[in-house]
């Protein structure tokens, strides 16, 4: 008899599953990266001056800086249902938020469409680097695109309108991070990212600090990360993450991760991705560019 949070192992070549909070089965769809991250983005450390621990703490504890949970409420938690589309959902969430932080309006982007670009028509999971490579070529389709069906993962079933609409959302600036300092620097500077976590054991249980009780591993699930929080009681930085398993999971769909507990091992197998900005939507609500000086 299974219960929510249980992990169901499968034969080699198939995706493991977790029992979701409502008893539904969710595929753990993050696979090894088939291409190098450097084929898509540059490492953050080559473009940014990495911040010291004190600089990071000063940045994330500023009184005028709202927490991600105050900016993006439970209504923004995604639902990948049972398919192994975590990469698509996490990256769509990150690009949505990178757009918004730059002032552009919220447009829900389709995680299913992003996933369909790299799964070869089968619900077999996907890696992060190839996901971003495909998205930078095709873009992210708005979830409201006519004809786009929820949880459809086959590229051949995607409406042509989705490919057309996605062209507006293929411009984004990204970097990859390999170290704690790189990830924290990016988050402290307001970036939004996508990381790999390993769903195993008591992953779905949170401790009194809101931290997942899951541990390290090779990484089998992709999640969006949208904030870094200094927890004075814990004496540590916590990485805030909206999952894509509905609001009935975790704390209204979210949990925190700790570098040592959750990411020290996954980062050996996966790069983490950070997005400081997204290119302006050519059909969006944009300011005039021909200015009149007076």
């Amino acid at each position: 008899m299974t219960k929510p949070g249980d992990i169901i192992s499968t034969p080699p070549g198939e995706l493991d599953q977790i029992v979701g909070p409502e008893g539904n089965l969710i595929k753990l769809g993050l696979t090894d990266e088939k291409i190098k991250a450097s084929a898509v983005f540059a490492p953050l450390r080559t473009k940014y001056k990495l911040l010291s621990e004190s600089e990071i703490k000063a940045s994330v504890t500023r009184s005028d800086r709202n927490k991600a949970r105050e900016i993006w409420g439970p209504d923004r938690i995604k639902d990948q249902d049972g398919i192994g589309a975590c990469q698509g959902y996490a990256s769509a969430a990150a690009i949505e938020k990178a757009r918004e932080l730059g002032g552009q309006e919220h447009i829900e982007l389709s995680g299913d469409f992003a996933y369909s670009l790299v799964n070869d028509g089968r619900d077999q999971g996907s890696g992060l680097a190839e996901g971003f490579q495909a998205a930078s070529q095709h873009g992210y389709a708005p979830a409201s695109t006519p004809g786009l069906k929820r949880w459809e993962y086959r590229k051949s079933r995607m409406p042509q309108a989705a490919f057309e609409a996605a062209k507006r959302f293929r411009g984004f600036e990204g970097f990859y991070a390999e170290t704690e300092q790189e990830l924290y620097t990016g988050l402290a500077l307001g970036m939004v990212g996508v990381i790999a976590v390993h769903v195993a054991g008591a992953y779905s249980q949170l401790d009194r600090y809101g931290v997942s009780r899951g541990g390290n591993g090779v990484g089998n699930h992709a999640v969006c990360v949208d904030d870094l929080v200094w927890d004075a009681a814990l004496g540590k930085f916590k990485i805030d993450s909206p999952n894509s398993w509905k609001t009935s999971w975790g704390e209204q769909g979210r949990c925190y991760y700790l570098w040592d507990q959750h990411l020290r091992t996954t980062t050996k197998y996966h790069k983490f991705y950070l997005f400081p900005a997204a290119t302006q939507d050519s059909q969006g609500n944009n300011p005039p560019t021909d200015l009149v000086m007076v």
């Binding site: 900016i71 300011p287 200015l291 007076v294």
Partner: protein, 137 residues
């Protein structure tokens, strides 16, 4: 030409005699012109920040996540945008700023520039509130 001190003294005495009885006030016939009032920015407005993204400051990162500020200006039909100076349209605005990046522009929906300038090294959203208040927003 050498100035005669007696002429200068006569001029000063005549100047004060035109004023009030105590001779200290400037005469009303020569009022000080009022300082020009800035135009009021009516309707839809844009507050544009141009940054070199790779040199983003903690100050700008905080303003981008200052929900109170963002909500307040959005309610007032002021639209906030952050652009990288290397991309479009950021490079165009960077030219308008004379290359002073990071910088800001406050414009109306027709493109009329009400204020522009370089951003200080440390700031909060209050800096932008001050700019907006100057134009009635």
């Amino acid at each position: 030409m050498k100035l005669d001190w007696r002429i200068v003294l006569a001029f000063v005495l005549a100047w004060y005699s035109l004023g009030s009885v105590d001779g200290c006030r400037l005469p009303d016939v020569l009022p000080i012109p009022p300082a020009p009032q800035p135009d009021r920015l009516e309707g839809k407005a844009w507050l544009i920040v141009v940054e070199e993204t790779e040199e983003r400051s903690a100050s700008l990162a905080a303003v981008m996540r200052d929900k109170g500020f963002q909500d307040r200006i959005a309610t007032d039909d002021v639209h906030f945008r952050v652009y990288d100076d290397d991309g479009e349209p950021g490079s165009k605005y960077a030219q308008d700023l004379g290359g002073k990046v990071p910088g800001y522009l406050l414009i109306d929906d027709a493109g009329k520039v009400y204020s522009l300038g370089e951003l200080p090294s440390e700031f909060t959203s209050e800096f932008f509130n001050g700019v907006l208040r100057e134009f009635g927003r």
